[in-house]
Symmetry: C2
Subunit: 594 residues, 2 copies
């Protein structure tokens, strides 16, 4: 193999055009494709930036041409030559460099390559396991390289925006204490302190609040966080947060800053104008119209409240839902009146997963006639009122939910998304943002028989609701705000509690004893005694955001070295066994089956 | 307490000057000091940026003046008022805002504060433990805030520089496999994979090499790394690296990029021109002149080789060192001829720590006379030759080392630094950079009876030395380069091995079996089979670099939330006990004394 020596590239592989004709250039990269034609060898040379066609003609240098015969896919070469226009009919308009080729007079073979286990220039389906095992090859695919470049641009945009607005990039610890009230922690045994463990942070929440107490005013960090939870397509054991916190602000100021950041981000990453200010919707309205606090507002198909009509109808299922304090709601799947029985059965099964006891449906036929197993329970007038409420037309398909509020919202909310997915109405190139605000502070946990924080225990209640914390905790609204994009929560934040007595009242409403409070986050309570300023912030999930920006369907495609759904890395074989000596040093013993 | 409501600051506390006189402003911050004078209350209001004097005069608003009587140190307030020039003799030229004060007509008390456990506006000695326990107060000190702001500016400068040069900011995993041949790993038990452990990365070394194999060309990351080692003033369990890697480059190109980065960093962080290109020195020359591969070149006091003179002298200690294949070297502590016996004894004790068997010294008296226990062993001519070699003048003090090379280098190298420290010649505002190059690839480990990598096993040997790997491994030089600033290694890197067969030869020279190689880093060896480009890089320790830039003496002062020397956090009490249930989930059992 040849040595690089002191040779330097003059251009990358996406740079040369007609303006460079006649120039002597040096390119380096990988052999993507080789074609031999009329005794001449054509190589598509690839680097991170693109592709340039290089030509080995025996008339230019027979020895070099001879050497080029050895080249195979993914070999690494350096070539020097002169830029030449391609004959008019040979130009490739799909390639940025398609008007030229380089006539090579020197070739250095810097490395060879085995044949890759999957082709890099075809859109062939390859198993996730193989892609992750040979991640260094998978990342050579232009679309994967493009994802990492988009992510690079995104963090650059975010940092530039926040730096210009007085935010300080400050690092918080990775080896820390577990965040109370969160998901399961990853633990790190301490060698020096037997029986004690660090936790990897689920978020820098308490540290960023302490930075505000420290008077640092505006903080941000793009930072790894960790949750030891079961994985899904949009979850990884370690994930990256865009985390920020501001002092002396209210909700409006946080929202203003964030909208500017998101606007700049989309413009600078994919050249899209997302046109802030974004719409806002209260939690209650989001639930009632979309059945979820993460509404996908790219399409309508909103939920309609039929409780009043249902209260007087003959259909027992509807009546008993209303009588039991529940609700009857419906949505109109426009133009889906020709769904087959099989499709309706599938959708019913889908709905059952979310707690539905069944799924009532109505097909609207010519003349407004109802085709439905439940048609007979309704008078003509009731049918008319329901049709009017849902704006039902011929060929529409109506679905009904009748149960407790929470169940109806979840069933119809999920059904709405599933319908739109089946109808292929989800356009990944449309970006619909909506702020969800006015959340309840607490939600009653039926299993644990106590209130839980809907966000986290440091979220401020509305000033006017503080007194209700002791008397009617479920009626307290918070100062939280979530940013939802196309039905995915991409960011969540709040104005925080900065007064110790308010924090204590919230902890009491959460049934956390004084002892427990002191043990778990006594240091925050103590900090609130020394002049904590009013403050608030927000955190975004960068991986999910990048998935949406790049139009992908898995966060694994926007992470250089992700884990599988079983939290393993097929590339390095992590997690791995360790020597018994290492465990002894950490004062722990095995408790597993070998 | 008052609510912030929708009030917004108009200025920060370091912003107002004569140009703002007459303007109505709103400021928010902390009460630093309060003075009552002639019925008027003066408050120094502090925020992150600085201090502004605000004035409560009963004639402006008696109710507000009355309320201001309650204010105490570190209370958080919002005030509105009109900017007024201070009377000429009351101006404070030490303060950016010293020419004005703000006459307050509205006061909102946003939070109260207990009296801090240590004063924030005095240069009082406070224990490290207390400072870390109340870190949110310690960080309010202007010099601590300034350190974090300098660190913010530094990472901003580095990112800006590298972004402009085609580097991609790419995240590598935190939950990974242990780096072979390194320090002790922090381990993270896997819940899903019983008996298996992740390791927190000691550096992203292998991942950045894989990114080069993936064709990403130029990578950087400012990233947390972890080492479970015993701590010192300049070591933390988690530390931050500026990590980078480049494809298709040689040493010169890496050095060129780095010198530009360091130049921009010092200019943009503290306004200093460090004037690259930096000097270079080979490892061998650094050892011979300074006794160390991390030479502090802010001063001379270089080592002088006296082996040739000593070879013929009568002094047995010198003679036997030379006869045993060792060396005799000396340094001249200029002007130290009046050191007391006590000082000489102290220095001898100091030298003994580093393996010296004694410390020979000579005081040069009037007429060149030697005052020394060893004077009698040397002829007049020898004394003259030694004095000439060391440029010895009246009142100079000479120290000698005679032993194996390594011992002499270490003893005299350490003695040199200690002397300069005692003479208070170390100027933290002078920055002397030097590249150390031409390292040996391997060093023989007498204990383990095998060669160890001087840097790491992925460092490329010089092309011309590859054949010696099998025959004379100790004579192989590497393509590594370290950047040293004022005697501290701030960065280290190398051109890496990109050819599988060369990597195997190096592993063999390190006595690593094929099996062990496959198990520990088989994935790297495999990657080298698929077209790895020539590549190299470097990594800098950001914490140490910031310590030097800010002129401090502990990395703890440039980290927001550092750990103690016992790897604990007095603020949060991490590491902490965990519930037995958590251990059970992780398949481990306690092995410690409760």
């Amino acid at each position: 193999m040849d040595s690089l020596g002191t040779m330097r590239r003059t251009h990358h592989c996406n740079e040369l055009g007609i303006g460079h004709v006649g120039e002597k250039v040096i390119l380096m990269g990988w052999v993507l494709r080789r074609r031999d034609h009329g005794g001449v060898i054509f190589i598509d040379l690839r680097d991170r930036e693109g592709i340039t066609q290089v030509v080995f003609n025996p008339e230019i240098n027979p020895a070099v041409h001879e050497k080029a015969h050895r080249l195979r896919s993914e070999w690494v070469i350096a070539v020097s030559g002169v830029v030449d226009p391609r004959p008019g009919d040979m130009a490739n308009p799909k390639l940025a460099t398609g008007e030229i080729e380089v006539l090579i007079d020197q070739l250095f073979i810097l490395n060879t390559s085995e044949t890759p286990p999957f082709p890099l220039d075809e859109d062939k389906e390859v198993s996730d396991g193989l892609r992750l095992q040979y991640r260094y090859l998978d990342l050579r695919k232009p679309e994967m390289t493009a994802n990492l470049i988009a992510r690079h641009r995104a963090v650059q945009s975010i940092r530039g925006y926040l730096n210009a607005r007085g935010f300080l990039d400050i690092e918080t610890p990775m080896l820390t204490k577990s965040t109370p009230e969160g998901a399961r922690d990853y633990l790190v045994p301490s060698r020096v302190n037997p029986g004690r463990f660090f936790a990897l942070p689920q978020s820098p929440q308490l540290f960023k609040q302490l930075l505000m107490v420290a008077g640092l005013d505006r903080y941000y960090q793009i930072v790894k966080c960790f949750r030891d939870e079961d994985l899904r397509a949009d979850r990884q054991p370690e994930f990256t947060q865009i985390d920020m916190e501001l002092s002396f602000v209210d909700e409006e100021q946080v929202i203003e800053i964030v909208e500017g950041m998101i606007d700049a981000l989309f413009r600078e990453t994919i050249g899209r104008d997302v046109q802030p200010p974004f719409k806002r919707i209260s939690y209650d309205e989001a639930m009632s119209r979309y059945g979820t606090d993460r509404p996908d507002t790219r399409f309508a198909m909103e939920l309609v409240d039929l409780t009043e009509i249902a209260a007087g109808c003959e259909f027992k299922v509807f009546r008993s839902a209303v009588d039991g304090g529940g609700t009857v709601r419906a949505l109109n799947a426009k133009g889906c009146g020709r769904f087959t029985r099989k499709e309706l059965d599938d959708l019913t099964d889908y709905a059952l997963q979310f707690g539905a006891k069944g799924l009532a449906w109505v097909k609207i036929k010519e003349g407004g006639e109802w085709q439905s197993p439940i048609a007979k329970f309704f008078s003509a007038e009731e049918r008319q009122r329901i049709a009017a409420a849902l704006d039902a037309q011929v060929d529409d398909l109506l679905f009904f939910g009748a149960d407790k509020n929470a169940t109806v919202f979840q069933v119809l909310g999920e059904l709405r998304i599933e319908l739109v997915r089946r109808l292929d109405l989800l356009d990944a190139t449309v970006f619909r943002f909506v702020w969800v605000t006015d959340f309840p502070l607490l939600a009653y946990d039926d299993k644990e028989k106590r209130f839980q924080a809907l966000h986290h225990p440091f979220t401020a209640p509305r000033d006017e609701d503080i007194e209700k914390l002791a008397t009617d905790p479920g009626a307290v609204y918070s100062r939280a705000y979530d940013l939802v994009l196309n039905g995915t929560e991409i960011g969540g934040g709040s104005i925080r509690i900065h007064q110790r007595d308010v924090q204590m009242k919230v902890l009491q409403a959460l049934s956390i004893s004084d002892d427990e409070a002191r043990e778990k986050f006594g240091f925050l309570l103590r900090a609130l005694e020394f002049g904590a300023p009013p403050h608030g912030g927000i955190a975004f999930g960068l991986d999910r955001l990048m998935m949406l920006i790049t139009g992908g369907d898995s966060i694994r495609n926007v992470i250089a070295f992700p884990k599988t759904q079983k939290a393993t890395c097929p590339l390095t074989d992590a997690p791995d066994k360790v020597a018994r000596r290492q465990l002894t040093e950490l004062h722990i013993r095995p408790d597993w089956q070998e």
